[in-house]
């Protein structure tokens, strides 16, 4: 059990590419921290540096208060679960799990006891004499976890441990991982590119982009109060809608109509170097069918009309896609997110509006529908640097805040 501290940790390669840049992170004892970001953001490199599999170019890494930059992985007393599981194919499940203990030169009785205990926790007891080749994906994954927990290390590092499982098993294993971590109370650093895993598993989530940390915080905080455009677009599924907004006469002209702004945002925009164009961000669930909104709620938002493109009924609610006219929002962050999501999936920045309406809404494809959206929940971003202008002391307050 230990805390892990990254103090301005950087990684640069001989050819000059910087994979990780000045990462500052304090992971408390027993905490479950998720590193998340699109591929190539440096999350795996960061994890490998904590593990000792990659050298740290500059900065300091401390585990339990001790500088470990130059220590070999074996001297750091941390265990790692690999994306590929990395089970030793020539050994049985029992031998696989016993391997770290045998290297630690424990006596045979202790090894057997510890392996049996770990196997019981992970329900592997009946598989102990099998070879990895004869296990299913989920079982292999559990063996990999077993090999990590068996020697009770100071910390667990997990590198996308669930990404090779099919969707159903992944959800199932997610709860297993979560329960195991709570049960053992061991500090865990978990790398994933899946924002759902990040949201559901972690005590805190670290969002990375291009080797730099974008925001660190509990999942809900990242969701509600994103610091910048990238975080806002990355967290949430379906992702936030982004619209181009032109600032004119203290109002915002958008494809959804003219959006009024409150004093606080106005003050921001009065600065000499303030952007004349903004990106307006709004999450799908902050829309509602205008028919279903009561008067009290109606006052907190505004309405617009748009043709319905597609309706996806989820039972509990409806995802409705609208076509909106007007200029597309454009920013480097959005392009990166689109590239990561595979362009077609990332509708957030296109002429499409994704909304989540109540299941009662009688909306149908092809018709034009009146839709309400909540002005208190919208975010305004500076397209030049992605900064969230509606964020005040770490809290987002919408466009109307005074």
């Amino acid at each position: 059990m230990a805390d892990i501290v990254l103090d301005k940790v950087s990684k640069s390669f001989p050819d000059g590419t910087v994979a990780v840049q000045d990462v500052d992170l304090e992971i408390a004892d027993g905490e479950f921290v998720i590193l998340v970001g699109p591929s190539g953001c440096g999350k795996s490199t960061t994890l490998n540096m904590i593990a000792g599999l990659e050298d740290i170019s500059s900065g300091e890494l401390r585990i339990a208060g001790q500088r470990v930059n130059d220590k070999a992985p074996r001297d750091r007393d941390i265990a790692m679960v690999f994306q590929s599981y990395a089970l030793y194919p020539n050994m049985t499940v029992r031998e696989n799990m016993a391997f770290p203990l045998r290297l630690a030169k424990l006596d045979k009785e202790t090894i057997d006891r510890k392996v049996d205990e770990a196997a019981k926790v992970l329900e592997l007891t009946s598989l102990l004499d099998r070879k990895p080749a004869n296990l299913s994906g989920g079982q292999r994954q559990r063996v990999a976890m077993g090999r990590a927990i068996v020697r009770q290390p100071k910390a667990f590092l997990m590198d996308e441990p669930l990404s090779n499982l099919d969707a159903k098993l992944r959800v199932q294993m997610r709860t297993v991982v979560s329960r195991l971590q709570k049960q053992l109370g061991t500090t865990t650093v978990y790398v994933t590119h899946d924002q759902t895993e990040a949201m559901t598993l972690g005590d805190r989530v670290v969002i990375m982009r291009g080797g730099a940390v974008q925001q660190v915080g509990p999942p809900q905080e990242l969701y509600d109060h994103p610091k910048n455009l990238f975080v806002a677009g990355f967290i949430g599924s379906p992702s936030m809608n982004f619209l181009h907004a032109a600032v004119q006469d203290g109002e915002l002209h958008t494809a959804l109509g003219t959006v009024p702004i409150g004093d606080r945002v106005r003050r921001e925009l009065e600065a000499a170097d303030a952007p004349r164009e903004l990106i307006l961000g709004i999450r799908p669930e902050h829309f509602e069918d205008a028919e279903l909104v009561d008067d009290d709620t109606r006052r907190r938002g505004m309405e617009f009309e748009a043709p319905v493109d597609i309706v996806e009924s989820m039972g509990s609610d409806k995802y409705v896609y609208f076509t909106v006219e007007g200029e597309k929002a454009s920013a480097a962050e959005l392009e990166e997110l689109a590239a990561d999501a595979g362009a077609t999936d990332f509708a957030g920045a296109g002429g499409n509006l994704v909304t989540r309406l109540s299941a009662e809404s009688p909306v149908a494809e092809g018709q034009t529908r009146r839709v309400w959206f909540n002005l208190e929940k919208i975010h305004l971003f500076d397209p030049a640097n992605g900064r969230n202008l509606t964020l005040h002391e770490g809290r987002a307050a919408g466009a109307l805040a005074d």
């Binding site: 074996r74 990395a86 030793y88 194919p89 020539n90 391997f99 290297l103």
Partner: protein, 278 residues
């Protein structure tokens, strides 16, 4: 396009296969047949000997010359194989895992050595070995064998090492293994099929070599079987040694066959299956 598996097609392929096998095996069988013939029937042109005899075998094992050469052959080939495989494994591991300056050059040079015509090296080697006083010794044969076997070993082995997921080594290190332990306990067992394949190839190369064996030896002290065979005269100089030579040829084929059969069991493909996803 579906593969036709009609009876006729099968028959045609079967006949072709038999033809190839017969073509390859007839000389071997002929040698074997000759080795069982008596001197009188040696040239009667019969494939199956009319008079079976084991005299030829008795003859060669009676002469010290052959037994001694057999010992030399086994010793030299085994030692050269062992050294080449161990060195080759280490070099191949470095080549497949590390990025170091001059890596391409190293691989290129080792390829060059493998392609170098050996016959052009015989005279210089002869001079060098005489100066170094290792002419006509086991060492004098083992060294050139290793030199020429190493490129082969490095090539085959690095192909095998490249197939092993690197994550396994990382996992071993995380589990508390040193670099050496990770190699010995995780990587080497997985590369075993590669090690055995390489061992077979190198052994056959050393065992079959005639050029170095005849040029770098001068006495029974270190002469290996292929070279010794050419000095074969039979029990007395008035005897036709054909039968004895054939018997010796059969005898030296046996270790190769044994060696291959023994190691073939270990060359199981798919040993790494189950290590990673899939």
């Amino acid at each position: 396009m579906a593969v036709e598996t009609t009876t006729r097609a099968k028959l045609r392929w079967g006949l072709l296969d038999v033809l190839v096998v017969v073509f390859a095996l007839v000389p071997v069988l002929w040698i074997a047949s000759l080795s069982f013939k008596t001197p009188a029937t040696l040239t009667d042109g019969n494939f199956i000997p009319r008079e079976w005899t084991l005299d030829n075998y008795r003859t060669i094992f009676d002469t010290d010359q052959f037994v001694r050469a057999l010992v030399n052959s086994i010793g030299v080939a085994l030692i050269a194989t062992l050294v080449a495989v161990v060195l080759g494994a280490m070099a191949a591991y470095a080549i497949s895992r590390l990025d170091f300056p001059g890596k391409k050059l190293l691989v290129g040079v080792s390829l060059l050595i493998a392609m170098f015509p050996q016959v052009s090296l015989v005279s210089p080697l002869f001079e060098i070995e005489r100066q170094l006083k290792i002419f006509d010794t086991w060492l004098g044969l083992i060294l050139p064998y290793i030199t020429f076997a190493l490129p082969l070993a490095i090539y085959t082995l690095s192909a095998f090492f490249k197939q092993i997921p690197w994550d396994l080594e990382k996992a071993a290190k995380m589990d508390g293994a040193t670099q050496g332990q990770a190699f010995r306990r995780v990587i080497a067992p997985l590369a075993a099929p590669g090690l055995f394949t390489t061992a077979i190839l190198v052994f056959i190369f050393c065992w079959n070599d005639f050029l170095f064996a005849i040029s770098l030896t001068s006495t029974e002290r270190s002469r290996t079987v292929p070279a010794a065979l050419s000095f074969f005269t039979g029990a007395s100089q008035f005897e036709d040694p054909t039968g004895a030579i054939c018997a010796a040829a059969v005898v030296i084929t046996v270790p190769i066959i044994l060696f291959v059969l023994f190691f073939q069991r270990r060359i199981v493909s798919g040993l790494t299956s189950g290590a990673v996803k899939g």
